[in-house]
């Protein structure tokens, strides 16, 4: 492995100061499942690794009906995946977690790390955006909270400024008549990066859609909201025809590229199919 200096600060203040002083080649280390790979494969220049795991207060998970799900930056994907409250309340998020890497990787990988890596194909991002998650950020000037949908500025890029550290996520509680789904599309079932990922969170009153939030992964520079499809669904009766029109609108909402995993045309077609399917699953899951 390439050499780097290792730091283990005890407070957010110390970690933030280290990151500010050491410059752009210093990186936060939480789960390490992306960072150590990037160091080993020389995808990222890293002079200093700042392990934030000794900082207290970022390992908790809480769930209640009033505030929803809250978890800190050190909570692993596997911890959340195996939590009954997550499985029952956020099946879209639970499905995304099951699809992320392997059990061994999820035992180390943190969800906040998966988010901060800001890959357009990251599995955990679409369901969290569809459920209006808020990300909490420590900044030397104080804490700030922003909607996850506004956190990403490009592939691998976020609004985090130098010295800022994401500390946790809050997912609001689900509305009463609501259902959710996440469908990951890949060439194989295990250890795969998403070719397309579609997350849906649907609120309804009987057969009428009150609001639908659709987040599309791996078909744009960041995870996208399918605004056109959402506009068609809002206030509409949830018929086969509405779902088909929403699927078509989602195809127009996305901006995929062709790469080694799939062509842009294929991705766009899959967005149509998977949006329809995810909407159907979310409707049927409706409590």
């Amino acid at each position: 492995m390439r050499r780097f200096a290792y730091h283990e600060p005890a407070t957010l203040e110390d970690a933030s100061r280290l990151l500010t002083d050491l410059g752009d080649d210093a990186h936060v280390f939480a789960g390490g499942t992306d960072l150590l790979v990037e160091i080993r494969e020389r995808l990222r220049r890293v002079s200093d690794v700042v392990n934030i795991k000794s900082i207290p207060g970022m390992s908790d998970i809480t769930w209640d009906e009033a505030t929803g799900l809250t978890f800190g930056a050190l909570v692993t994907a596997r911890q959340l995946e195996t939590l009954r409250g997550v499985q029952e309340t956020y099946p879209n998020f639970a499905e995304a977690l099951r699809q992320l890497g392997s059990i061994q990787v999820r035992g180390r990988a943190t969800v906040v790390g998966n988010i901060c890596r800001a890959s357009p194909s990251a599995d955990t991002i679409p369901p969290l955006i569809a459920d209006r998650a808020i990300i909490h950020i420590y900044s030397p000037r104080g804490m700030r909270r922003i909607p996850l949908a506004e956190f990403f500025t490009g592939p691998g890029r976020t609004v985090l400024a130098r010295g800022e550290i994401a500390t946790g996520i809050v997912v609001p509680p689900p509305a009463r008549q609501s259902g959710r789904a996440y469908i990951k599309h890949g060439r194989r079932k295990a250890m795969e990066l998403a070719t397309v990922g579609v997350a849906v969170s649907l609120e309804r009153d009987g057969d009428r859609c009150l609001e639908a939030r659709i987040a599309l992964g791996a078909v744009g520079p960041v995870v996208l909201r399918a605004a056109g499809a959402e506009a068609i669904l809002k206030g509409a009766d949830l018929t086969d025809e509405t779902l088909a029109r929403a699927g078509e609108a989602a195809m127009a909402d996305c901006t995929p590229i062709s790469n080694v995993r799939a062509s842009a045309d294929y991705r766009r077609n899959m967005v149509g199919v998977l949006t329809r399917r995810a909407l159907r699953t979310a409707m049927e899951a409706n409590a």
Binding site: Y6, S102, Q104, A190
Partner: protein, 165 residues
């Protein structure tokens, strides 16, 4: 700069000298001489380096050795219940020819052990899900799944005999 890392390794207190940038995998193999844990891909894809840290299976290549301070680490060398007694999974892997070149076997044994501890009677789908982070390029997996099913039966039967005796 090397740091002394104290840990519990396969039930025994141990210490190792580790530089901050070295992986747990490299230190297990090179500092402590425990070469049962294999280095396959070194980027968390193949599962050959699976060990338990505080009971959680992880890829030892994706953990820094200095992070093991104060933790409990279990490797394939700790799988055998006693010196000359094999674990039922090891017996079953031999019986079924579930190991060919053997490079993936330590990681698969560790992962299968975790699977059966949590779920003594897994379905085929659950076995596949449990082992999906372990890549084998020889067997085509069929014999591995046969061996895990067989070991699960053996462990359950042993448990029942113990309960009735």
């Amino acid at each position: 700069m090397k740091q002394i890392v104290e840990l519990t390794l396969n039930g025994e207190p141990r210490e190792m000298a580790a530089e901050g940038h070295r992986s747990l995998l490299d230190c297990l193999r090179e500092e402590l001489g425990l070469t049962g844990t294999k280095k396959g891909c070194d980027v968390g894809d193949c599962g050959a380096c699976t060990v338990f840290v505080d009971g959680q299976p992880i890829n030892a290549c994706l953990m820094l050795a200095v992070e093991a301070r104060g933790r409990t680490v279990e490797t394939v060398e700790g799988l055998r219940p006693e010196g000359d007694v094999l674990h039922p999974l090891q017996e079953a892997f031999m019986r079924h020819g579930a190991s060919q070149c053997g490079f993936c076997t330590p990681g698969i044994l560790m992962m299968a052990r975790k699977l059966l501890e949590e779920n003594p009677d897994p379905t085929d789908a659950e076995i596949r899900f449990g082992l999906s982070g372990n890549i084998c390029r020889c067997t085509g997996y069929t014999k591995i799944f046969d061996a895990v099913r067989s070991a699960a039966r053996d462990i359950r039967q042993a448990g029942q005999q113990e309960a009735t005796s």
